[in-house]
């Protein structure tokens, strides 16, 4: 996929070129160096599953994984993400077995209300489960401590992650 910033042709003055692996697909873009990764994902790549809650890294709504680490995409600018970085968003997670298990667990546990925090919450949940397949409740809480949910009171989100951990542990190909 080759993408350039909206409405502009070619490399703008002072822009940089970046090649990342977004959701398993190689993407090359020309962007201003200080453009937020959040905006690149949403506006350049049309990946609107990543939401903006606060714009200053406090709410975790815009969480994505860069080389398997959860980060707030509103605090990350293009220049900070080197060529070859692997970026995973909710759209990519959805296409994975672990993603489907997590989503189903969230739905079953009743952990989704308005849903605006949920993509970020799922990214943080996945980041936890890929390094720790059998988290304790305290570890689950720690993993989503940077994600704000204003609807659920978190009880059912913790339940959902617990449920998903059990299922991923049982899934034959799961990690």
């Amino acid at each position: 996929m080759n993408t350039e910033s909206a409405g502009e042709k070619g490399l703008g003055h002072g822009w940089i070129r970046r090649t990342w692996v977004v959701n398993g697909e190689e993407v090359s873009l020309s962007v201003p160096p200080l453009r937020r990764v959040l905006d690149i994902l949403r506006e350049e790549l049309g990946l609107t599953g990543t939401k903006e809650g606060c714009g200053e890294g406090e709410c975790g709504t815009c969480t994505i994984l860069v080389d398997d680490r959860p980060v707030c995409s509103c605090l990350l600018v293009a220049a900070q993400v080197p060529d070859g970085s692997r970026i995973l968003t909710i759209e990519g997670l959805s296409a994975m077995e672990e993603g489907r298990i997590l989503e189903a667990a969230y739905v079953e546990a009743g952990a989704v209300q308005c849903g605006f925090c949920i993509p970020g919450m799922l990214m943080a949940s996945y980041a936890l489960l890929r390094r720790n397949g059998k988290p304790t409740d305290a570890e689950i809480r720690e993993a989503i401590a940077g994600n704000i949910c204003r609807c659920t009171g978190y009880v059912k989100i913790v339940e959902a992650i617990r449920l998903a951990a059990e299922r991923i542990g049982r899934a034959p190909a799961g990690k």
Partner: protein, 768 residues
């Protein structure tokens, strides 16, 4: 724990319809939408709290070639938000009454360009004196100084003089609360798309499409059919998207009509916190007469809310506040005086609870102090004074013989082992490093609109037959109630499926669009499941009867039949499938496809809006919270460890969703109780971002135990009462009371912070 009765779909924990799309990131919130040739809007705001506009200067160095500017002169219709009191303009044209008040609008091809253009418009304003700080308002009020009131309302019962003549003890205390922000995670946002016929289509994040619709007709001078309002997926609202969306929709529409393009406006977090509605700060003084054995003889309440620059919803917030000010407890002589003060701050507005959280902070703190004054335990005092069947409330509304209040109170006391644990409270003992306290709050929430609200709204909703086919729905709900995260889309489908006797998959409930749905009233006041659910149940029963009549004639030679589990069966065992019957029925065009019903109040309901006498609400949901807290003596860190919650919300339609409402409301209430604080500086809210406005995270929550007891609403098919707001109402006083019994000192103003605890303890040391 959930103990609910099941009756088909009512009581069944059906999974949410909308959850999977949201979890996959596919749900389209307003900022995820783009329209062809769309521009972005921004607001030009007043730099001063109060003043008179002398002109607007445009920066001559700015490139204005691709900018559209809207000033009050561009408004084709009326420049006023009609709401309840017609006092707020869309754009201030002469006087500005708060810092940040909109004075003009701009649109440009990108967000950045729009913001730059807004910054390049400089309003010239002659500044005037202003009143912005809530503490100043309270001081002036107590000194008897001059204040402007946006609204006043009193409630009188019996003879207040006599109430105090009979008193042996009089307790007088003041309680305060501050501003609070809804902090829905999805900021306010709208898109307006101009239509070929000169009209406009509005899409966006809102609770009440039929609040937006008439406002735009008046603002744009357009007939109703030329304004169409469509809800997009809403990322939380909590009252914050009740009235404010009318403003932002108006701004987008003005820009769209002037520019001839689609215009989107989405606030960033700072703009959203700074310039949209907050919970009203309050100051409440209770003066209560008691006999020594703990009977309440007279009750006088001074109830002050800070309303901000314009009235907007304040009259109704005040109404709910004063009705709940002494609710739950028997007293023959009551005087409640309510006022909303005008200041130079953004209008205070709706936030989950709508006046009731302020009322219960004062009431349930005060009742603990009353118990103490007559030497009783808090639970004993409440059980002694709780309404009994046949008692009357302050408005004169009669308490039914059987109601949920005493039952939830007893159950919560028993489950939390209140009496035994109360004996072990630390009360500031120097013998321990960790103080423990337990406290309770007994509270309710009037379900449905206040006073004459439901009678005025006459909520309408409909069910429509559709063709099915390709797995499409056979039945479509047409109501203006919005899904904003609370689960309306799922719960209302359950109610319709139950009334009809069909699987829930056959019933769809698309997001409301004013071109297609009747006015079911706003999605507020804990009324959706109870009121709109009741209307839809009746509409579905009418549809069921029509279909049964049709099938009886068409298939069973006139023999009676019943629709159950998607099959029509006659007495003699003949059967016809629901889908086939609907398709046959729809083959003839003149058959009735749409079945509409209207809400009716319980028989004999009476309300006197002028004197606030009568049946203030169709029914009440009741709850009791018992909170347990620990305080680290060295640091005064306060940790809530457990909340035992027992609630009567009538029939529980979906126990998992209901629990989710309680958990969410409880944690939101915990933020109000302990964390969320907005000061005022230079006419602006001081906490203007998530770094400074701190809301609860997962590490802040206590263990939560929930039990539902069902005392159904007797005047509807589903029997549900209100749920959405109740869970927030009682959190703060339950924690405050627990803290008092942990530390031995009471804090009278929210939020309950270690700093205030430190001062309270210092005062005690000085006294000693």
């Amino acid at each position: 724990m959930v103990t609910v009765t099941r009756r088909g779909y009512i009581g069944l924990p059906v999974e949410r319809t909308d959850a999977i799309e949201k979890a996959q990131g596919k749900a389209q919130y307003v900022d995820d939408l783009r329209r062809p040739d769309m521009w972005y809007g921004a607001v030009v705001r007043s730099p001063v709290s109060h003043g008179f506009i002398e002109g607007l200067d445009r920066d001559p160095d700015f490139d204005w070639s691709r900018v559209v500017l809207v000033t009050p002169e561009d408004i084709p219709g009326r420049n006023v938000v009609e709401s309840l009191v017609h006092d707020m303009p869309f754009l201030a044209s002469q006087e500005v009454r708060y810092r940040g008040e909109p004075v003009a609008l701009v649109a440009a091809p990108t967000r950045e360009a729009a913001r730059a253009a807004a910054a390049a418009v400089k309003p010239r304003i002659r500044a005037a004196p202003s009143l912005t700080v809530p503490d100043d308002v309270v001081r002036i009020y107590k000194e008897g100084g001059e204040l402007e009131y946006l609204w006043r309302q009193d409630i009188r019962k019996g003879d207040i003089e006599r109430g105090f003549r009979e008193a042996e003890i009089v307790v007088e205390r003041e309680y305060r609360t501050g501003y609070a922000e809804q902090l829905y995670l999805e900021p306010q946002g709208m898109i307006a798309v101009p239509q070929e016929d000169g009209g406009v289509l509005i899409e966006g994040s809102m609770q009440c499409p039929y609040y937006v619709h008439p406002e735009l007709c008046a603002l744009l001078n357009l007939p109703p059919e030329k304004v169409r309002v469509r809800q997009t997926v809403v990322g939380g609202a909590f009252g914050g998207k009740e009235d404010f969306p009318s403003l932002i929709a108006g701004y987008c529409a003005l820009l769209a009509l002037k520019s001839g393009r689609a215009v989107k406006m989405v606030f960033d977090r700072e703009e959203d916190i700074l310039f949209t509605t907050k919970r009203h700060p309050s100051w409440v003084r209770h003066r209560t007469g008691l006999t020594r054995d703990g009977r309440i003889t007279g009750w006088q309440v001074d109830f002050l809310l800070i309303g901000g620059a314009y009235a907007t919803l304040s009259p109704v917030v005040l109404a709910r506040g004063i009705i709940h000010a002494t609710i739950g407890y028997r007293c023959d002589n009551v005087l409640i005086e309510g006022r909303v003060v005008r200041t130079h701050m953004p209008p205070s507005g709706a936030f989950r609870g709508f006046g009731a959280p302020q009322a219960f902070w004062a009431l349930e703190s005060h009742v603990d102090e009353l118990a103490e004054a007559c030497g009783m335990r808090p639970d004993e005092f409440r059980l002694r004074n709780a309404y009994r069947g046949g008692d009357t409330m302050a408005t004169g509304q009669k308490v039914p013989e059987e109601y949920g209040g005493p039952a939830v109170l007893r159950k919560a006391l028993e489950q939390s082992r209140f009496e035994a644990r109360f004996a072990h409270c630390s009360r500031g003992s120097t013998l321990t490093d960790r103080w423990y306290g337990i406290g309770l709050a007994y509270f309710c929430h009037g379900a449905g609109f206040t006073g004459d609200g439901e009678a005025r709204i006459k909520a309408r909703a409909a069910v429509e037959l559709a063709g099915g086919g390709e797995g499409g729905p056979l039945v479509v709900i047409r109501a203006s109630s919005t899904e904003m995260g609370q689960g309306a889309q799922t719960v209302l489908r359950q109610i319709v499926a139950e009334a009809l006797g069909v699987p829930i998959e056959s019933v769809s409930y698309p997001l409301p669009d004013t071109a297609l749905v009747p006015d079911s009233g706003p999605t507020v006041a804990s009324r959706t499941t109870m009121v709109v659910g009741a209307v839809l149940y009746d509409a579905a029963v009418a549809m069921k009867k029509a279909l049964e009549g049709f099938v009886s004639q068409q298939f069973f030679d006139g023999a009676d039949c019943v629709l159950e589990e998607a099959v029509f069966r006659s007495g003699s065992g003949q059967a016809v499938d629901f889908e086939r019957a609907v398709q046959d029925y729809l083959r003839t065009a003149e058959r009735q496809q749409r079945f509409e019903a209207v809400f009716s109040l319980p028989p004999g309901s009476q309300w006197d809006q002028e004197n606030f006498r009568g049946d203030a609400y169709p029914d009440y949901s009741w709850a009791c919270y018992v909170a347990e807290v620990e305080v680290e003596r060295a640091t005064l860190a306060i940790r809530p460890i457990r909340v035992t919650a027992v609630l009567d919300i009538g029939r529980v339609v979906n126990p998992v969703l209901a629990e989710g409402q309680v958990e969410g409301g409880l944690v939101q209430g915990l933020g109000y109780a302990m964390m969320e604080k907005v000061g005022v500086r230079d006419g602006l809210f001081e906490a203007d971002r998530l770094q400074t406005y701190i809301v609860p995270g997962v590490l802040d929550i206590p263990e939560i135990r929930i039990t539902f007891l069902e005392f159904p609403y007797r005047y509807s098919g589903p029997g549900a009462k209100g749920l959405g707001e109740l869970p927030l109402n009682g959190v703060a006083p339950a924690i405050g009371n627990a803290l008092k019994h942990a530390v031995g000192r009471r804090i009278h103003d929210l939020p309950l912070t270690p700093e205030k605890l430190f001062r309270a303890i210092e005062e005690r040391l000085v006294e000693q």
